[in-house]
Symmetry: C2
DNA sequence: AATTATTTGTGCGTATGTATC
DNA sequence: AGATACATACGCACAAATAAT
């Protein structure tokens, strides 16, 4: 005997009927009374079956009129698989590349991409997370907002993980959440950048770092490591920290400082990223200081402006589009439960261009 | 008397109970038998109420165990409002700006953004549309793929419109679909660009245009209009057409042509966009031809590369982030049924930089 | 314009099956 | 093994919306 419940059998018969008769949107199906006779079950059972199908998006009912086909595919609104992607910015810098990489891979697998950007604002991150969680998410890729701080939205991330929705962090991860991540080796990157300046004969090396994300701290750590290894001086006055909020203000400080005073402080600069490096160079140029003739600069990310800006920047590259593709591929593995945890670091690579000059004594 | 159905009353009592007792995920609620006594209704009515609440995402049931709180907010997966955005590219050029503008405005209203890119491929457009339509879309913004051709996905767009989901095209719109759009006045843009070269004394003006989208055709039309008005020669050999697929090939043609021959053809170039203009200039530079000394160039879009590239491009600006914000605002109006149709054109603006030289006789 | 038949919606009672503790 | 909880299933009655007469 068939151990299927009767309402299940009725459901299947109704669906097969829709397909056999090739019924379209708004076409009527048989009445409940008809089906009672036809399937020899009670009205209750028929209604139970129809209720399910309404819920699944196959049918809709109208009192006094009848029951009609809604979506002949049985696809309910909200049935589509989608993956959330949250980054700090969309339009700036290296993010378009990363996002494009994710979209490319994710759409290959039939997912749509839900995209939100936080502008590096914790409240916005919470708002986007809340919005997205009300959608049917299959997985989530997050570039953390202000990753040095313990995450304010831990409750939401925990809720996602509790529901079995995998979360993958890129670029950095919050200290207080245990999840998968794909990051670059920022410490090594900072080390390589600084080491290159040292190898080019620079003895006094300044640093400009971002205070409120993990990359800034990692690159700073690598910078310290290289200086310590070479027995070069590490001094607070050579290190400038900025945050999302104080960026402009901090850069303004570099206006109208005499070349002598600058050279006293240091001849080489390790700068948090290509964007800041470009702004720094612009400020210097305005003050009559030339890069790389007067000061040398190494920055990070190998963004397009590193190649196309006023000065061709020597910079530490890490994957952008590939990072996106890799993140998407990893998330797909996590969603398929093939693996439960992914921790991956990309190796940084030095790209030598024209923002560093060799010092000879 | 209260005319609400009893099951509705029971539903509300259960919900208020969850809120009053501040019940969380996995907390049990009263059993069906308990509630029969408590609310003085039949078991059927209780079950009907619970079935509804399960469906809405408030509760889940487990046979033999009980009924438990699922989401204390009552939000079902797929309840979140989202807006689809389909563009040809995400990472290139002016699109990050536009997308960012849309995201900004849309998230203010509590929507999430579903993003897909077609790489100017009709099949990919169809795939993305299908994916998105299975999600719960409140509205859709589309930058058309190959907009000169009649749209291959008309059936899907029609289906969306039939379901009352507004569709807004940006940049261009398909000829065979009647929907809202926000575009720039491409004909005027082409006219202004060409007119500027004429005003600077150029008599023989070449054009490089994109064949497979409406913008290319519009700009070409404006180019013709300006030449005709000034009684200047219009010749096929001065006009180069390319498509997404033949872009590289066509640009390759400009390699190694002697300056004399080039000048014979024309001294001014109207070029489809800043990106192509930049590639063109690069090819010229490789061949020893200088811009603007030897040849003058006017292009379109005022992308960031127009300002930051090797040659500062004189270009026709149109709004980018503002276009995104405006598109989002318009879609919000369409979704609220405040209006049913929006047709808007942005005025182009000439940005004079350094890629055109004045010819004196 | 009122009536009637049809169709879905609400609601109760009862019985039996099955999973969990 | 027994109590408890939800699941399936039948039957009945009346209400409300719709369409046709």
């Amino acid at each position: 005997m068939d151990n299927k419940p009767k309402y299940q059998v009725v459901k299947e018969k109704i669906i097969s009927d829709i397909k056999v008769k090739d019924l379209k949107y708004n076409d009527p199906i048989r009445s409940e009374l008809d089906m009672m006779d036809l399937f020899k079950v009670s009205r209750h059972t028929i209604r139970r079956a129809i209720a399910d199908l309404v819920n699944e998006g196959w049918l809709y009912r109208q009192q006094g009129k009848g029951t009609f086909v809604d979506n002949p595919e049985g696809l309910k609104n909200g049935t589509g698989k989608s993956v959330g992607v949250i980054t700090t910015y969309i339009n700036d810098y290296i993010f378009p590349e990363i996002i494009s990489g994710i979209e490319h891979r994710i759409s290959e697998e039939g997912y749509s991409m839900l995209l939100g950007n936080t502008n590096n604002d914790i409240a916005k991150e919470r708002q986007i997370l809340t919005n997205m969680m009300n959608s049917k998410l299959s997985g989530l890729i997050v570039e953390p907002t202000k990753s040095v701080f313990p995450n304010h939205n831990k409750d939401l991330y925990d809720q996602l993980l509790a529901k079995g929705i995998p979360v993958l962090f890129i670029h950095a991860c919050y200290g207080n959440i245990q999840t998968s991540f794909i990051i670059e080796d920022d410490i090594k990157a900072g080390y390589i950048a600084t080491k290159y300046l040292i190898d080019q004969g620079h003895k006094f090396i300044c640093g400009i770092f971002k205070q409120d994300d993990m990359q800034g701290h990692g690159r700073y750590e690598g910078y310290l490591k290289a200086l310590r290894e070479a027995d070069l001086p590490i001094d607070d006055f050579r290190i400038v920290w900025y945050t999302t909020e104080t960026k402009k203000l901090v850069l303004e400080q570099f206006k109208n400082i005499s070349l002598e005073k600058l050279k006293e402080q240091g001849t080489g600069y390790v700068i948090y990223n290509d964007q800041i490096a470009n702004s720094f160079i612009q400020k210097m140029t305005e003050g009559g200081v030339s890069i790389p003739e007067d000061l040398s600069v190494v920055s990070f990310d190998n963004a397009s402006i590193a190649k196309n800006g006023p000065v061709q920047l020597t910079t530490i590259a890490h994957p952008k589009r590939e990072l996106g593709v890799e993140a998407a591929s990893s998330l797909i593995k996590l969603m398929s439960k093939e693996v439960t945890m992914i921790k991956k670091k990309f190796e940084p690579e030095l790209i030598i261009r024209n923002s560093v000059s060799k010092l000879v004594e």
